[in-house]
């Protein structure tokens, strides 16, 4: 349907030819932009509803009071995936977990997945790569958080927290906070949620347009299989290289996915592309600066190193199975 509209607009109304590179590029631009904006809006509304009703305090209490034989890593990681808090909420949540006496490894599981799986990334993936790759991305993001958190938990990293966090951890106790009942009704809240979703879309709109613009240009003008000669599946260092390149890059998912989509279409293996994406979104220098408040540089290094290692592993794995 969207494709029909894009065809009508570009080939009909604009009178461009479907056989020229420019025609293909402009068509791709309109098609992708419309599709992704619609997806992003609806996913943001959905996440907003979850966010408004998610019982964070209750979950924290549950994690502390129940012995779960490893399941707590899964819950923390899943929680990181479905909560669409803005990046700066990650730190208060981190402290909130530490304060509640939740083990550091479980807290890390949350901290890894939280930026990795978010509404913008999911919408962009769905729009650009379809359902299968999106599911692989989301599920592996959650597993990555679990495994990473578990491994980091084994390292005994508590001494590398900053002093005031250590103090908090020392007198951690579960305040018997009453779970506040939210009295605002759904109907009253819904307009706010929609408004917030619209704000998210507006906030990333310019990145989406730039990303799709670059993607569309490459889509029309770069020949099929162009990148294959540089980054094929057999190239063993392609995955680690793309992960390392991704860390200093701070692009949000909105700008980077449309470009990656075209890279994949032109011959870069999906696994390498997903690993790159994960590293761009999950490991960023601005995030490191935020974390500096709660961790020493050494701990940030260990944290990033471990996560990068697992991202590289999953990159190889995806190249094998996808």
């Amino acid at each position: 349907m969207i494709q029909d509209f894009a065809d009508w607009l570009v080939y009909g109304l604009f009178g461009m030819s479907a056989d020229t590179a420019a025609g293909v590029a402009v068509n791709f631009f309109f098609y992708d932009t419309i599709k992704i904006l619609i997806l992003l809006f609806f996913i943001s509304v959905l996440m907003g509803i979850i966010n408004a009703y998610f019982p964070i305090e209750r979950l924290r209490k549950y994690l502390v009071t129940h012995k779960m034989y490893g399941l707590q890593y899964f819950l923390a990681s899943l929680f990181g995936a479905i909560t669409p808090f803005c990046s700066c909420s990650s730190i208060p949540l981190f402290i909130g977990f530490v304060k509640g006496g939740i083990p550091l490894g479980v807290t890390f599981a949350f901290l890894i997945t939280s930026p990795l799986v978010n509404e913008v990334a999911v919408a962009m993936f769905l729009g650009s790569f379809g359902l299968k790759v999106t599911l692989v991305y989301v599920i592996s993001g959650i597993i990555l958080g679990m495994v990473g958190g578990f491994v980091l938990g084994r390292f005994k990293l508590e001494p590398y927290l900053t002093d005031w966090v250590k103090r908090i951890q020392a007198d951690s106790s579960l305040q018997s906070e009453e779970w506040e009942k939210d009295s605002t009704s759904f109907l009253k809240r819904f307009p706010t949620i929609v408004r917030d979703a619209w704000k998210i879309v507006k906030g990333v709109l310019v990145y989406i347009l730039i990303g799709i613009g670059i993607g569309a240009f490459m889509h029309g003008f770069v020949p099929e299989g162009f990148f294959e000669q540089y980054m094929s599946k057999d190239n063993w260092y392609a995955v680690p290289l793309s992960v390392i390149l991704a860390v200093p890059m701070y692009a949000n998912a909105a700008g980077i996915v449309p470009v990656i989509e075209v890279f994949v279409a032109k011959g870069i293996p999906v696994g390498t592309a997903i690993a790159f994406m994960m590293a761009v979104v999950g490991l960023s220098l601005p995030e490191a600066t935020l974390l500096k408040k709660v961790m020493t540089w050494k701990l940030i290094g260990i944290f990033f190193g471990t996560v990068a290692f697992f991202i590289i592993l999953s990159g190889y794995l995806f190249n094998q199975i996808l």
Binding site: N51, I56, C86, S89, G96, K99, R195
Partner: protein, 77 residues
């Protein structure tokens, strides 16, 4: 009355601050509005999600940007 907006400085925290400021200004209220972006101070209020709004040292809103009617309710108008 003193209102504190807690948030490390993301877009949502800014729009929360602006929303409250707007209502105060439009109604000429005698309210002290402060922005707290230091994470250590924020954590003293025992919250896990930002932005949060504190009215006279009591956390009233956490985790979302308040709508204008919510702000009015907070301010008692």
């Amino acid at each position: 009355m003193e209102i504190k907006v807690l948030g490390p400085g993301c877009a949502k925290c800014k729009s929360t601050y602006n929303a409250i400021e707007k209502v105060i200004r439009e109604n000429n209220l005698d309210v002290k509005l402060v922005k707290i972006d230091d994470i250590e101070q924020i954590m003293n209020y025992n919250i896990m999600t930002t932005p949060a709004v504190v009215v006279d040292e009591e956390v009233k809103i956490k985790g979302h940007v308040p709508s204008e009617s919510e702000v009015r309710k907070l301010l008692g108008i």
